[in-house]
Point group: C2
Chain length 437, copies 2
């Protein structure tokens, strides 16, 4: 070993990394999510990790979080990288993608996109600098049927209920209900109220009241705003109407919300719930909004969020492209379970069977047996040396490999297989063997 | 539509992006590669996209290509990002990972890693700034059996021969053969000769001769060096010996090379071929080296490369961790086929069946049918509005959905399914239907 200086590697804060066993579970999650998205007909896209800064900044927001790229020893003549930034979500890249490939896409375009995103924010519980999001969106020219607003929570329900995670609830609301209600109350700037109500779960009634007072709302306006935010669960439509506020936009929103809830009536009670406190601070949502969190830890933040937008790609193309989308915060969910020790069970390696190599002379035979088992769908390792058989079996035990295969130790002999969990060993034919028999 | 300024999106040079149809094929490739790696018992890991710069630079190389991260509006008090760079390969992150997680891993550790990497080099044919690599490596404490040197080409053969790509050859050599041969010739700096021979396919015999003359080699030394580089295919061991050069290291290398070739003797002729001109410029290779290229376009560069290294993680941990690895250049292969128009056939969407919604009243029934078909493994869309049936069928045709399902148009009616390719329509039960019948 050389005496060179050793750079001791340390974890980088905000950039999670898993052991192979944990990664095996994450991969299973990703497969499950993908299968769920595809089962509803969503097509996969991926975009580059970077966008031009003018694309990332088209909405003029979040600039503080953007990581820009620089070459370590930049060639002054070539500054083509200087305007590149890592994407901080998958919505902006999706909007840009749709505009750029408009003539190559078939609408309504239903896409899913599972990629890493980067945000240069201070790492803290549930907040990472690099994390994976799983997004689904439907986008169309001019209008998007309301049915999709109901389909997305259905997909999220199917996907999340197939993962072994703590109880969660997907809350649904409609921005038109909020905005129409505030307008009906004679509020001048309904968006400011939406932003305040969005903070309700963090700052409470009194905090929201204070902001609204600052916005010039009267107690007669603030009280119904807070009453609206308390409405949740069954019969929300009637409860809102009972508050006696009337506006055209409110009525439109209530009808949309009722349609979505009705379409999801077959899902188990409590999985998708109307919650009039859900506001989603982002300006581009215009109708249905979604937000899911863990029932026993709502303060952890949303594990899934989205909504309807009237015109997502307007910055990039002169077409009206409304849509509705939802994003599952894979890393946020997964990392919490890892931190709490709930993710443990992954396999050390994907090997189903390890083939023993009896001797150097019989290695070719062992390799053939390995190929045969692989063709039959078993992940198969042929042992990597001609160590003593006991040592080979020890390796299989150490790696958690469930079956050890013994090809004939001499020409014309029998194949045998050992079940490592039970220790049983018996004759078997690699061309027909099944672990179940 | 608002009159706001439109930022016309344009492709970013060196950052490939695919349409959904092309992406569908790429995803199938990734699945195939992953299944191939796992079928040999390799476990998946992923590492963050960034490493600390002192980790990336531990070998003191390639600094020009590294992209560093900066926050657009950096907080002067928090410069914790200032030392981060995007990884430019998966070998350095793997070495760091093994050192960092040494006590959590089971050795020999067989891992695969399929991730994007970034290089700030000038984009050109076959060279990208962001691309996906598929790496497999075996790493162990103190020593790694030579059997793994043979297993890796076997895996690459299984993986690449399952992809519809132009003819390729995986060339194998051993650095000990080269170094030992040059030493046997009395050459002072064998590594310099290796670096020169590595350029043979680009600069030809005369170009190499010129470099070697510059290194002070005599014609009596240069001629055998070039003769060695011409040896290829069957009987290489004998052909090398026939050149009459003798050294201990050469003999060791020939034995290793013979072992690897012998172990792969069952693979089809011409798939894995000994080629004494393969040198691999990188300093850390010490034994077996691999390099694959397209037979009809060798100038496109290597599509797969790797080799054995005596101590990969020495910069990060005071242990000897030799290994052997190989990397498939997924993007390099795939992007070439896309550019040549060879990748076309992907589906527009993964939907197998589209369920018609006969009317608003019967939508719940259509949703139930959709759930039933999904449970049975069919990717199923329930149409997203109550448009006329003809319009719903048009949508399915436009999206290339192979089957359209008609739930009963009235209570107690029959389900029917239409095969879109043949236009046939007949009664079917969603609980037992199979497209094959």
């Amino acid at each position: 070993m050389s005496d060179q200086r050793v750079v001791r590697p340390t974890p980088i804060s905000g950039f999670p990394e898993w052991t192979p066993q944990v990664r095996a579970v994450e991969q299973r999650w990703l497969d499950h999510i993908r299968a769920g998205f595809e089962s509803f007909g969503f097509a996969s896209i991926e975009t580059p990790s970077v966008e031009n800064l003018d694309v990332l900044m088209a909405k003029g927001e979040t600039s503080q979080e953007v990581y820009t790229l620089h070459r370590l020893q930049a060639d002054a003549k070539d500054d083509s990288d200087a305007r590149l930034g890592l994407h901080f979500d998958l919505t902006v890249p999706f909007a840009r993608y749709v505009a750029q490939h408009f003539n190559e896409l078939t609408f309504p375009f239903k896409r899913y996109q599972t990629q890493r995103v980067w945000r240069g924010e201070r790492p803290q519980e549930g907040r990472y600098r690099e994390f994976t999001q799983c997004d689904i969106d439907v986008i169309n020219v001019d209008s998007v049927p309301l049915h999709f607003d109901a389909e997305l929570p259905r997909i999220v329900y199917r996907v999340l209920s197939g993962l072994d995670i703590p109880a969660w609830t997907l809350n649904v609301n409609n921005r038109k209900v909020l905005q129409g209600f505030y307008e009906g109350l004679g509020v001048k700037d309904p968006i400011a109220v939406i932003r305040a109500v969005d903070k309700l779960h963090k700052i409470g009634d009194e905090g929201v009241r204070e902001i609204l007072e600052g916005e010039g709302l009267t107690a007669e306006q603030i009280d119904p705003c807070l009453a609206l935010a308390r409405i949740r669960g069954a019969g929300v439509i009637e409860q809102v109407r009972a508050l006696g506020v009337v506006s055209e936009l409110l009525e439109e929103g209530l009808e949309e919300l009722a349609f979505v809830l009705d379409d999801l009536a077959d899902l188990p009670e409590g999985s998708v719930v109307a919650d009039l406190s859900i506001a989603r601070g982002l300006d581009y949502y215009t109708g249905t909004v979604y937000e899911a969190s863990f029932d026993d830890d709502p303060g952890y933040g949303s594990i899934c969020a989205g909504g309807r937008y009237e015109n997502l790609a307007g910055q990039f193309i002169r077409k009206r492209l409304p849509g509705v989308g939802i994003s599952i915060g894979l890393t946020r969910i997964f990392a919490k379970l890892v931190a709490e020790g709930r993710i443990e069970g992954g396999r050390i390696c994907p090997t189903d069977v390890m083939v023993v190599v009896p001797s150097a002379e019989r290695r070719a035979d062992a390799l053939r047996t390995g190929e045969l088992l692989r063709e039959r769908g078993f992940n198969t390792e042929v042992f990597h040396s001609t160590a003593k058989v006991g040592k080979q079996i020890q390796y299989a035990a150490k790696k958690g490999i469930p079956f050890v295969w013994f090809p004939p130790f001499e020409e014309g002999g029998e194949h045998e297989v050992k079940n490592m969990a039970q220790g049983e060993q018996g004759a078997a034919d690699p061309a027909v063997w099944s672990p179940a028999t």
